[in-house]
Symmetry: C2
């Protein structure tokens, strides 16, 4: 499959595909961690599964509640797992929501942009290299060397736009 510069996820995922979408994310994570020689432990795997199961930006304490159903868990438990998953590029943190979301293409290095629908609360991840370059270029005009970008966009996704302002 040819990959375009701009990829999106989550808005596109139908409810029916969702089990597959979780399984696929976990399989990719297993593979990447094996390749990298890092340990996707049961706990970390479980947290990643929960992140994908929610299928929308989810807070650390929400994950904690869900995690408690399979054993004891305290805040550091979930934050440590999330730190690992972020380091491995398997989840992203959304600064404007204090929430986490599974990365939809963790196999590729990318700077991501996030589209947050204010109506249905769903999220899509872009990896628009052109946009990312434009951001870096804009910073460079004032002599600033960009290293990390946080681009989070709030608005209406297509389905919600069709349904009207509601």
């Amino acid at each position: 499959m040819l990959e375009t510069a701009t990829q999106s996820a989550s808005f596109a995922c139908k409810r029916d595909d969702h089990e597959h979408c979780i399984a696929s994310a976990l399989a990719t994570a297993e593979r990447l961690c094996a390749e990298r020689g890092v340990r996707l432990t049961r706990l970390r795997r479980k947290v990643l599964e929960l992140v994908w199961s929610n299928h929308r930006p989810v807070g650390a304490y929400e994950l904690l509640e869900q995690l408690k159903s399979c054993g004891p868990a305290a805040p550091p438990t979930v934050y440590r797992a999330l730190d690992f998953l972020q380091t491995q590029g398997l989840v992203h943190r959304l600064a404007s929501l204090n929430a986490f979301i599974g990365c939809s293409h963790p196999q590729a290095e990318h700077t991501a942009q996030f589209l947050i629908c204010r109506r249905c609360r769903n999220l899509a991840e872009l990896a628009d290299d052109g946009l990312s370059n434009a951001v870096a270029a804009s910073a460079r005009t004032v002599g600033f060397q960009a290293e990390e970008q946080m681009v989070e966009i709030v608005g209406l996704c297509e389905p919600c736009r069709r349904k009207g302002e509601g």
Copy 2:
């Protein structure tokens, strides 16, 4: 003075100009609030002054401590003032830092981008309409209608870049 699409502030402000820079921000705020028929009360004005005095992204509880030196103050005191100032476009909130900064050109409608130096912790505000349009256009490619943008860029400002990685 001709204004270009991309404006920057804060990195450019020398320490010597800083008193003037605070006074000017307060004067502009007074004028804008008068024009709009909203009340820049003593408390709100004081909070805005503190935001500018710090001259870098500053947390609500830092402001609270500073505010306590002129009377009683609790968290809601400072958060309410900040809410007002944000609504009037006089300060911006930085989602990635949980911090606030004075807007460097509150007289004009704009979507801002923020450059955060990881070394000196200073911040510059851009208002690059071209970039803002590029962000909106990128969202539109997947049918998303952008309404609010959060663009926060971490890296090295020019002076810090010259001084080396440190």
